[in-house]
C-alpha cells in the first residue's frame, strides 16, 4: 500500500490531469448538429474542473439547465443576457480576494457578446480581470428565433433581415469583433472554429496560462438558423474557414501572432450554397450576383489582411490541422 501511495499523484493534480474531463455532459437538450454544444464541451474539456462559469442568457443556458436537470459538471451561474462579463469580473475579484486559484470562464453567444453584453465585456477587458471570455458565434439570435445580430454576415437571411423585393437579406457587415477586442491590448485574443477541435483546445489552454483577460470567438454553426442539415455542421464550419469568410487568427497585446493558413482557398459559393440563409443569392437575380461578388470580396479582403494564403502545404493549415495520420491513413 505504501508503495502505491508513493506513486499516486496528489489529488489536486489528479483532478487536473484526469483524461477527458467533461465539464458539459451528454444528455442536454441541444439540437442535432449544434455547433455551440460541441464547442462548449471542447472548451470545458480543455479548461478542466477547477473553473467557475458565468453564462449569458442564450441557447447554451437554456439547453443545458432545464430545472431540475443540469448538464454541467463545473460550478456554473446564469444571471442575465448582458452581464456575463461583469458577473465573471465579480467572481474573479472575489476569488482573488479569497486567494483561491480557480479560473473564471464567461460564456456568451454572439448576441450576448457583440451586441447587448458588449459594454460589460469591454469593461472587463479594460480592467484586466483574469477571465477567459468565450463567444460561441452562430451569427444570429438563434435562441429567440433567428433574428439578425451584429455578427450576422452580410446578405444573410434571418427573420428580421428577410430578403424581398426591396432587400437582399442583412444590409450591414458582420462586426469585426476580434479587432475591437484586440484593440483593448489584452494579452490574448483569438478566433477558432468547431471544425478544428484540437485548435480550440490549444487556444483554451494558452488563454488559461495567461494572467489577464483573454477572449476566444468560436465559429459555431447552427443547423436551424443557417438552414443546413445537422450532419453538415463541421463541414460548414470548415468551409467558412477555407473560403476566408471566417479567418482563424491569434492576437497578443493587439499584434497578430498566429493564423491558420489556407492550403487552397475555396470560393465563397462552396460555403454559402448549402445554407438556406443564403438561398436568395442563388436565384436568377442581378442583385444576387452582386451580393455574391460582395461576399467574395470580403473573403478576399480577410485573406489579404491576415496573410492567409499559405505558400506550401503546412501540417497546421486549414487542410492539415486536426487530422491525425497513422500508418498512412488520414483520420479526420
Amino acid at each position: 500500500m505504501s508503495d502505491l501511495a508513493e506513486t499516486l499523484m496528489p489529488i489536486a493534480e489528479l483532478r487536473r490531469n484526469q483524461p477527458r474531463f467533461r465539464g458539459l455532459e451528454a444528455g442536454h437538450l441541444a439540437c442535432l448538429g449544434c455547433g455551440q454544444a460541441l464547442a462548449a464541451r471542447l472548451v470545458t474539456e480543455a479548461a478542466g474542473p477547477d473553473v467557475a462559469v458565468a453564462n449569458a442568457t442564450g441557447c447554451l443556458e437554456v439547453f443545458t439547465t432545464a430545472w431540475p436537470q443540469s448538464a454541467w459538471r463545473v460550478p456554473w451561474l446564469h444571471s442575465l443576457f448582458e452581464n456575463a462579463a461583469a458577473i465573471a469580473s465579480g467572481m474573479e475579484a472575489a476569488l482573488k480576494a479569497q486567494g483561491k486559484p480557480a479560473k473564471v470562464l464567461a460564456f456568451g453567444g454572439d448576441g450576448g457578446t457583440f451586441d447587448i453584453g458588449f459594454q460589460a465585456l469591454s469593461g472587463m477587458l479594460e480592467r484586466g480581470h483574469n477571465v477567459l471570455y468565450v463567444c460561441f458565434d452562430n451569427e444570429a439570435y438563434m435562441n429567440t428565433g433567428v433574428q439578425r445580430s451584429s455578427s450576422t454576415p452580410h446578405a444573410a437571411m434571418t427573420t428580421t433581415s428577410p430578403p424581398g423585393k426591396a432587400r437582399m437579406g442583412k444590409r450591414h457587415l458582420k462586426k469585426d469583433i476580434i479587432s475591437i477586442i484586440a484593440a483593448h491590448n489584452i494579452p490574448y485574443a483569438a478566433t477558432a472554429s468547431v471544425a478544428y477541435p484540437s485548435d480550440i483546445r490549444k487556444k483554451v489552454r494558452r488563454a488559461l496560462e495567461i494572467d489577464g483577460p483573454a477572449f476566444i470567438n468560436i465559429h459555431s454553426p447552427c443547423p436551424l438558423g443557417w438552414g443546413h442539415d445537422g450532419s453538415l455542421s463541421i463541414e460548414m464550419a470548415r468551409l467558412a474557414v477555407e473560403c476566408g469568410l471566417f479567418p482563424v487568427v491569434e492576437l497578443e497585446r493587439g499584434a497578430l501572432t498566429g493564423t491558420m493558413p489556407l492550403r487552397a482557398p475555396r470560393p465563397v459559393t462552396d460555403y454559402l450554397k448549402p445554407q438556406q440563409r443564403f438561398a436568395h443569392l442563388f436565384q436568377n437575380d442581378p442583385r444576387a450576383k452582386e451580393e455574391l461578388e460582395h461576399l467574395q470580396a470580403l473573403a478576399d479582403h480577410n485573406i489579404e489582411t491576415y496573410g492567409l494564403r499559405g505558400e506550401r502545404p503546412d501540417p497546421l493549415d486549414s487542410a492539415g490541422a486536426d487530422t491525425v495520420r497513422r500508418g498512412g491513413v488520414r483520420w479526420a
Binding site: 473553473v51 460550478p75 480576494a97
Partner: protein, 390 residues
C-alpha cells in the same frame, strides 16, 4: 465617542467594519461619497478589499452579484438613474436569493432631470424582492448598514438600505461609529451555502418551466415575510450591544392618547419630531416611522393604529395616475381593522423640494375635511404651470 461625520463617510466606515471583500460601483450622477470613502480606506491600507470601478451601474450590481456567488461579502451603492439602470440585475439578485447589501442614496428620477432628494428610485424597485429599510438619520444609516449584512446573510435575501440623498448623505451629524469588536461580535464571517465551488459544482440561475416558477416565487415571498423576525432580532441584538436601536420594522413616538398619527419614511421623520415640538398647541399626535417597507409590516402597523381616528401618510414618491405608493399600502392594511382610521395621503419633498416645519399645522388642518384626502401633492404652486396643466 461622538464624531462629526458626513453621512456618506459614516456609511463608508460602517461598510468597512463589515469587512467586504469586493466593492463595485459606478459614479452615475447623482453620486455620493460612500464609494470614494471606501476607496480612500483601501488606498490607506485600512481595508483589504477588491474595489472594482465598473463601466456602468448595470455592471456594478452584476459584479457584486458575481462576487457573492463566488463566496465573498460584497457591497455597492447607487441612486436615482443608477437604481433604474440596475433594476434588471436587482430582480435577478433577489430571485437568485443572493445576500448582498447596497445603499440607495434616495434621489429623484429624470425627466425632468433632478439630482435632489426624493424616494422615487427605491420605490420604483419595491417589487424586486429586496428587503428595503429606510433610515431617518445618519446614526440609523450606520447601524442599519451593519444590521443589513446580518439580515441578508441569515435570510439569503438582499437588503437595500435607503438613505435620503443630500438630506442625509451630504449632511454632517454627530455620530457614534461602532467599534470593530462590536461589529465582529454581531456579524459572523461571511458564509454563503450556495457559493460556487469546483469541488462541489452546482448550477445556479437555471431555466425553470411553469411547473416550478410559481413555487420559486412563493418561496421568495415567504422568505420576505419571515424576514420580519430577523429585522426585529437584528435591531434588538444591536441595541443590546451598542445601546442604540433603529426602530425594528416601525417605530412610534408620541402619547398613547393621541387619536391622530403621521406616518413617514426616512428623514422627514426628524422634521416631524421638531415640528411637533414647535406646535404643542395642536394637541397629541403620534409619529410613525416606517423603517421596513419590504417586507411590509402589516400586523405591526395594524397594532399601532388601533384606536386612531386619522392616519396621515407622507411620502416622497408617487405612482402617477394612481397616487401614493405607501399610502395605498397603509390604507389596504388598515382597512382590515374593525374601526379603521381614516387614511390621508400626501406626497411631499419631491425632487428636493424643502419640507418645512409649517407642514405640520397644514397637514393637521387638511384632515379636518369631511372626507379623507385620498391623495394630494403638497405645495404644488399652480401659478408656475400653464393653465392646461393645472
Amino acid at each position: 465617542m461622538l464624531q462629526a461625520l458626513e453621512g456618506s463617510q459614516a456609511i463608508a466606515l460602517a461598510v468597512a467594519l463589515c469587512r467586504p471583500q469586493v466593492v463595485a460601483a459606478y459614479p452615475i450622477t447623482p453620486q455620493t461619497h460612500i464609494v470614494e470613502g471606501l476607496a480612500r480606506l483601501i488606498a490607506d491600507g485600512k481595508l483589504q478589499c477588491e474595489l472594482v470601478s465598473v463601466e456602468s451601474e448595470f455592471s456594478a450590481a452584476s459584479v457584486a452579484l458575481g462576487a457573492v456567488v463566488a463566496g465573498s461579502r460584497a457591497y455597492t451603492a447607487s441612486a436615482s438613474q443608477g437604481i433604474l439602470l440596475m433594476s434588471e440585475v436587482l430582480y435577478n439578485i433577489a430571485g437568485l436569493r443572493v445576500p448582498l447589501v447596497m445603499t440607495c442614496a434616495n434621489r429623484a428620477v429624470s425627466a425632468p432631470l433632478s439630482i435632489w432628494n426624493d424616494q422615487q428610485d427605491s420605490m420604483a424597485v419595491r417589487d424586486a424582492g429586496w428587503i428595503q429599510l429606510y433610515c431617518a438619520d445618519n446614526q440609523e444609516a450606520v447601524d442599519t448598514t451593519v444590521q443589513a449584512y446580518r439580515i441578508a446573510e441569515r435570510t439569503e435575501l438582499p437588503v437595500m438600505v435607503c438613505v435620503d440623498g443630500f438630506t442625509l448623505t451630504h449632511t454632517l451629524e454627530p455620530l457614534e461609529i461602532p467599534s470593530r469588536d462590536q461589529v465582529d461580535a454581531f456579524l459572523p464571517p461571511f458564509h454563503f451555502a450556495r457559493a460556487l465551488d469546483p469541488l462541489h459544482p452546482i448550477s445556479s440561475g437555471t431555466l425553470v418551466s411553469p411547473e416550478y416558477y410559481t413555487e420559486a416565487r412563493h418561496a421568495h415571498h415567504q422568505a420576505l415575510l419571515r424576514a420580519k423576525d430577523e429585522i426585529v432580532t437584528a435591531d434588538n441584538d444591536w441595541a443590546v450591544l451598542t445601546g442604540r436601536a433603529s426602530g425594528g420594522l416601525l417605530e412610534v413616538d408620541g402619547p398613547d392618547d393621541a387619536r391622530v398619527a403621521i406616518l413617514t419614511l426616512g428623514s422627514v421623520f426628524g422634521t416631524l419630531l421638531d415640528a411637533r415640538e414647535e406646535y404643542p398647541q395642536l394637541g397629541p399626535v403620534k409619529l410613525i416611522k416606517l423603517r421596513a417597507f419590504r417586507p411590509f409590516p402589516v400586523e405591526a402597523l395594524q397594532q399601532v393604529c388601533v384606536g386612531l381616528s386619522d392616519v396621515i401618510v407622507l411620502e416622497r414618491a408617487l405612482s402617477p395616475g394612481s397616487g401614493g405608493i405607501v399610502g395605498a399600502e397603509v390604507r389596504a392594511a388598515l382597512a382590515e381593522l374593525s374601526a379603521a382610521p381614516r387614511v390621508h395621503n400626501f406626497a411631499v419633498g419631491l425632487g428636493g423640494r424643502d419640507v418645512p416645519l409649517d407642514i405640520y399645522p397644514r397637514l393637521l388642518a387638511a384632515i379636518q375635511s369631511a372626507f379623507p384626502v385620498r391623495f394630494a401633492i403638497l405645495d404644488v404652486e399652480l401659478d408656475k404651470l400653464p393653465a392646461e396643466d393645472r
